[in-house]
């Protein structure tokens, strides 16, 4: 580091001398300053650098909008806004999307973002070289065509309201066609204001300024995402001034040390992370609606949040965060009522009690929530046998093989209500009425979309398809100089393009 500073100094000195010799009348150059650096603390590390093939949320967190851009981007009210596309037209029947690309847009290597680039990016997904969520997003796509240099047509086989939203997620990133797909997992090739500078797995992802950037220049020259396995270590780094931002505080209990200080600003927003106590509907007891309703009545969710997440987090009653247009407050649908729970269990023929396996991943919230819920269920005669599984084991045994009765996990994908309608979902939930509502919503007009989604969410709640415990809060800590941080985590990205510093 010192060597580099010395070098910078020498270069600066040389420039000054040369400038002084040749053009004594010109003012001294001021562009040889310290680069403006933003240090962001984070916990979920990327597993790779290709958002199309890597499932973890750590990858789009760093790359989306910062390194890769999409045709459209959602504003904080979740309305699509232009990014690489200046405008788009949807045909009357909702089957044909025509996008016009920005004439200025170019990739980091200087080549223009053409219609061909869009076609090749999407064709890669249509060829099946993508992970499940992205393939599901592209299921309605029939064909992608380049009409001319700047016009792209996307033909769908069924009208889909989700489609345009999906194009603003990692599914819709436009990749430089000049890049070799085999190297994308190490070297992303996008059109965003930053390029990947350095990647030290387990510690650091450094983004550096894309000198060819076509849009509004960003404030920082360098952005360092620094990763901490222990959230307390991240807090200490913030307190000692090594970080400018904590992207999400995962020990909400520690919030007090920042709240009481003039040196920090605390933002508390929403995420899309619903922490769900999921029931396996293939279990004979849990297939009975009364049993599920009883379990929902038996859990005091506020007590669970208090114990597991420092009381931070909104109570929700369905798979919808308050930031969605189809949100409805259903958090009081199953009030805490152990007596009612016992009655319902008796009605369902489980008066003598019930034993269920509660298999949870070793993520920060899950074992804590499990301990609290286990004690509460015991009060109504339900014995929850808690088992902790390492996250990869959990993914295999619970998520893939469905070997569980109950589990607890946060679903962080935006707009993930249709998950309950996906065939062969890990909850084994299959409700034809719900499936039809989701399909109708996707086919209908934008107004119908919101209306049907709302109806579907309410149906899930009435059916007690799961117990939605709480919404993970988005707790961001910044220094007072930082501005422009998005309070709500409504996309998978940590968008640094809007962030500035007054220093």
């Amino acid at each position: 580091m010192r060597a580099r500073q010395l070098l910078t100094l020498l270069v600066a000195l040389a420039v000054v001398l040369v400038a002084a010799c040749t053009r004594p009348e010109s003012p001294l150059p001021i562009d040889e300053q310290e680069p403006k650096v933003l240090n962001v603390g984070a916990t979920g590390e990327p597993d790779g650098m290709d958002p199309i093939t890597v499932t973890g949320a750590g990858t789009p967190f760093v790359l989306l909008y910062n390194v890769y851009e999409t045709l459209v981007k959602l504003d904080p009210e979740k309305r699509p806004q232009p990014l690489l596309a200046t405008e788009w037209v949807v045909s009357e029947d909702g089957l044909l999307y025509t996008f016009t690309l920005d004439r200025l847009a170019k990739f980091a290597d200087g080549s223009p973002v053409t219609a061909e680039a869009v076609v090749s990016s999407f064709q890669r997904i249509l060829d099946g070289d993508a992970h499940g969520q992205i393939l599901a997003d592209f299921a309605p796509v029939e064909e992608v065509r380049a009409v001319d240099e700047r016009t792209v047509e996307i033909e769908l086989n069924t009208p889909s309201n989700q489609f345009l939203i999906a194009l603003s997620t990692p599914s819709g990133i436009i990749v430089n066609p000049a890049a070799d797909p085999a190297t994308l997992n190490q070297t992303p090739a996008g059109s965003g204001p930053y390029v990947l500078g350095e990647w030290e797995p387990g510690q650091l992802v450094k983004l550096t300024r894309n000198t060819n950037y076509w849009g509004t220049p960003t404030h920082f020259d360098e952005v360092n995402f620094r990763y901490y396995a222990d959230p307390n270590a991240m807090n200490t780094a913030m307190l000692s001034g090594q970080l400018d931002i904590i992207s999400n505080l995962t020990v909400p209990q520690a919030i007090t040390q920042f709240e009481d200080s003039e040196d920090f600003v605390v933002l508390e927003g929403y995420t899309d992370g619903e922490v769900v106590l999921t029931y396996n509907h293939a279990n004979p007891a849990l297939a009975v609606k009364e049993v599920r309703q009883a379990l929902n009545h038996a859990v005091d969710r506020q007590a669970v949040v208090d114990a597991a997440w420092g009381g931070k987090g909104e109570l929700i009653g369905s798979m919808v965060p308050p930031t969605e247009p189809w949100y409805e407050d259903l958090s009081d649908f199953y009030p805490y009522d152990p007596e009612r729970a016992k009655e319902l269990l008796a009605e369902a023929g489980y008066a003598e009690g019930l034993t269920l396996r509660l298999r949870v991943p070793t993520l920060p919230y899950a074992p804590l929530a499990a301990r609290s819920i286990q004690a509460q269920l015991r009060e109504v005669g339900v014995e929850a046998a808690v088992e902790e599984l390492e996250f990869s084991t959990w993914l295999e045994q619970v998520f893939a093989n469905k070997d569980y009765d109950m589990t607890i996990v946060a679903h962080v994908e935006p707009g993930d209500l249709p998950m309950y309608a996906m065939p062969n979902n890990y909850m084994n939930y299959d409700n034809p009425v719900f499936n039809e509502l989701i399909a109708e919503a996707d086919r209908g007009t934008p107004e119908e979309f919101v209306e049907k989604q709302k109806e579907a969410a309410r149906l899930l709640t009435e059916d007690a398809a799961a117990n939605w415990l709480w919404l993970l809060p988005n707790i961001i800590i910044t220094t007072p100089e930082i501005s422009g941080v998005q309070e709500n985590q409504t996309s998978l990205a940590f968008d640094v393009t809007t962030i500035a510093s007054s220093q």
Binding site: N232, V251, Q253, A307, A308, P364, L368, S372, V386, E390
Partner: protein, 269 residues
């Protein structure tokens, strides 16, 4: 001064054992029930306060002593039952054959015990029994080595030669001459291993690889206290002290036992 470490160790272990014994029948509160008073400071009726769930910390500490002793006893006894005969056999078998168990245990010994335990627990899923197995298997090499070294020494004694000349078989020699003579070494090793087992159990539970979230163990209490390290640091103090005292107790006991049981040291004194 002599024997003071024995008594100090015995006192600390006695305290842990007594606590565990009492916890079998009675704790002030249900150690796993949620309570209305969250994060209460030490006072009455919660002598050591409550945790984030409103559970009584003292009750959890007492219940944790049960798990600690269970895991400690089972893993160390299991390791000794396997390790000592293997060690004796390694010393008494013809040289080429004896090398095999000796080297195998050396390889096993090369792995840090906790790392080995993590490997097992991760492969088999976390529970009290995998913790017992993992720690037990990681402890075996210590017993093999100590038994083998002790046996080799005993075998070079004239009275063993005399027994062999008298026509005694190897099994009889092992039972009559070797075992009684290496017993003190095994006791000392067991005591030291017990201390390590407690620490390993706490480590595994801390990592979520030991007993489930429902069983209160000291390691898990430490893990849960970590989230509150800045807001309620005292939560980490109690389980930390418990682990420290129990480990210290068994190490002191091991030291004291060696002083008392090792005949050479006794003669010197």
């Amino acid at each position: 001064m002599r024997g003071s470490s024995l008594w100090a160790g015995a006192f600390l272990i006695g305290l842990v054992a007594l606590t565990a014994g009492v916890a079998l029948f009675w704790t002030p509160f249900d150690p796993t029930a949620n309570g209305p008073l969250r994060l209460a400071p030490p006072g009455w009726p919660h002598l050591l306060g409550t945790d984030a769930f409103g559970s009584d910390v003292l009750s959890r500490l007492m219940a944790g002593a049960k798990v600690v002793l269970l895991v400690g006893v089972l893993s160390v006894v299991g390791a000794a039952v396997v390790g000592v005969p293997v060690g004796i056999a390694a010393a008494m078998l013809p040289r080429a054959w004896g090398e095999i168990p000796a080297r195998l245990s050396d390889i096993l010994y090369g792995f840090p015990a906790l790392l080995l335990a993590i490997l097992f627990a991760a492969a088999l899923g976390g529970s009290t029994w995998t913790a017992v197995m993992a720690i037990g298997i990681a402890t075996i090499p210590a017993f093999v080595r100590i038994a083998r070294a002790g046996t080799l020494e005993v075998l070079s004694q004239p009275y063993v030669e005399a027994a062999q000349l008298a026509g005694l078989g190897p099994l009889a020699i092992a039972r009559r001459h070797v075992l009684p003579n290496i017993a003190p070494l095994v006791w000392v090793q067991a005591s030291v291993s017990f201390g390590i087992a407690i620490l390993s159990e706490a480590g595994l539970s801390y990592l979520g690889l030991g007993s489930g979230p429902d069983s209160p163990t000291w390691g898990r209490m430490l893990r849960e206290a970590q989230d509150h390290l800045f807001s309620t640091p005292i939560l980490a103090l109690w389980p930390g002290l418990a682990v420290a005292f129990a480990t210290l107790g068994f190490n002191l006991l091991g030291d004291g036992l060696r002083d008392v049981l090792d005949p050479r040291l006794r003669e010197r004194a």
